[in-house]
């Protein structure tokens, strides 16, 4: 036995070395684009082979597609939504351009199903709080008088036909910022898939949707700690499958601090004040626009009302993090999440 010990050690070393240096599946080639739009950085990853010519051509297709989308839904550019808002400044009824109806109707369904917790008719409040234009932020909150004066009728109650919308009063300002990013991500991913690239990830400032997979495995996503925005540290991991979108609304995205209090951009449509029941809400769904708007609605709802609101919206996979950092997670999402920080797991 003593004599064979060196040989055993030699073979053990050889085996350990071979294991360390074992062949791992080679990741599929990755092509990426980085575009600025919708007030955020859009990072696109496409897995699989692609020629240089096709890479350039696809970029040439995606940029105008995104520009046209942003113009249509921007409240600041001279597009379809801005034109609709201009009419609504002086009239309670207005016509709108082709191509808006489907999303106006979807927004109304989400508004109604969420009990008005997502409501695109709060555009005047968003502007009043300084969150409409990134370059014109407020330094202190508006007065209660200003908030009351900017109250508008809910989008839930709007009368909507193919080309005409009627609201209860003049001066309503629509803002679809709570849903547009989801629709844009879906639009880009659909275009990429139709262009012959089935495996892609579109990441718009941390909100994302995937198609296909990354080589031999699913797309692997880390979920960041909402209270450590400067760090890239993840508190949980999830593998996303074909078509799945992961969207979050958080009080860390856009905010200003006044007198020690954080005033963020997620305005409660019932009060005109930043919603305070959560610091983050996350939704996983195959409809990115719905996931986007539903995340806003669940943020406003907070952890207590989230199960009922999510059920009304048809959302099975969601998570809401309370102001004290405690996550409440739906059973369906809990099954998919891998918690990396046990302190955060609830």
């Amino acid at each position: 036995m003593k004599k064979s010990l060196p040989i055993v050690v030699l073979f053990a070393a050889l085996a350990a070395g071979l294991w360390l240096n074992r062949e791992t599946p080679t990741p599929a080639p990755l092509h990426s684009y980085r575009l600025f739009a919708l007030g955020t950085l859009i990072d696109i990853q496409i897995a699989g082979p692609m020629s240089d010519t096709r890479y350039s051509a696809l970029e040439g297709e995606l940029i105008p597609l995104l520009n046209a989308f942003e113009t249509r839904w921007s409240v600041l550019r001279d597009g379809a939504l801005a034109q609709l808002n201009r009419q609504l400044e002086t009239a309670a009824s207005a016509t709108f351009a082709d191509g808006l109806y489907t999303d106006l109707r979807l927004a109304q369904q989400i508004c109604r199903n969420s009990g008005g917790r997502y409501d695109p008719a709060i555009g005047r409040w968003i502007a009043l709080w300084g969150f409409e234009d990134e370059e014109k932020p407020r330094e202190q909150p508006p007065t209660e008088t200003e908030i009351v004066a900017a109250r508008a009728p809910s989008w839930c109650e709007a009368e909507l036909s193919d080309q005409i919308v009627t609201l209860g009063t003049v001066g309503v300002r629509l803002n679809f910022g709570g849903m547009a990013k989801g629709r844009a991500v879906d639009l880009l991913l659909t275009h990429i898939r139709n262009a012959g690239f089935p495996d892609a990830l579109v990441n718009a400032g941390g909100d994302l949707q995937v198609s296909g997979q990354r080589g031999e495995r699913a797309w692997r996503i880390g979920i960041r700690d909402p209270r450590a925005p400067g760090e890239q540290k993840a508190i949980a991991a999830i593998s996303l499958h074909d078509g799945e979108a992961l969207f979050s609304s958080g009080d860390y995205e856009r905010f200003f601090t006044y007198d020690g209090q954080r005033y963020h951009h997620l305005i409660d449509p019932h009060t005109g004040q930043p919603a305070r029941r959560a610091i983050s809400a996350t939704v996983l769904h195959t409809d990115a626009a719905l996931a986007d708007a539903a995340a806003t609605a669940l943020f406003v709802a907070g952890p207590e009302d989230a199960p009922r609101v999510a059920a009304d919206l048809g959302i099975e996979m969601w998570m809401v993090i309370a102001p004290d950092g405690t996550p409440t997670t739906s059973p369906a999402l809990e099954q998919r999440l891998e918690w990396l920080d046990t302190d955060a797991a609830g």
């Binding site: 240096n21 980085r34 990134e134 909100d207 880390g222 400067g230 860390y252």
Partner: protein, 119 residues
């Protein structure tokens, strides 16, 4: 222990050191950052402290490389989110001054194996 045994053990040790070296040499390190601006992309080494002025859509942003990490230190945007995000050294880390159309990312695959970070 005989001479032969000693030689075999030495061979085993050498072999193991070789494999361990090969294993670590293949690890991804974040030693280059890619800066994208309206003027195009540029690569910056992170092993040399330096200050960079990058022209964006609103004006110049100033980035610093310090102790192997890179970050924004001045930018003409109003909210300064890029500056608040701090310095970055890990492969795959990304930040941007969106209004000024300047992004930076540390090259290489993320060490944690994620394709993206959701937030």
């Amino acid at each position: 222990m005989r001479l032969g045994d000693g030689l075999l053990l030495a061979a085993a040790l050498s072999l193991e050191l070789f494999f361990i070296h090969r294993y670590w040499a293949g690890a991804t390190t974040g030693d280059i950052a890619v800066i994208q601006s309206p003027a195009g992309s540029q690569e910056v080494r992170l092993d040399r402290d330096q200050t960079l002025t990058v022209m964006g859509a609103l004006g110049p942003s100033i980035l610093e490389v310090r102790d192997g990490a890179i970050g924004f230190v001045q930018s003409p945007c109003s909210r300064k989110i890029c500056i608040r995000s701090g310095f970055h050294s890990h492969a795959g880390a990304t930040t941007a001054c969106v209004p000024n159309r300047i992004s930076l990312s540390v090259a290489g695959m993320r060490e944690d194996g994620f394709d993206a970070i959701h937030h």
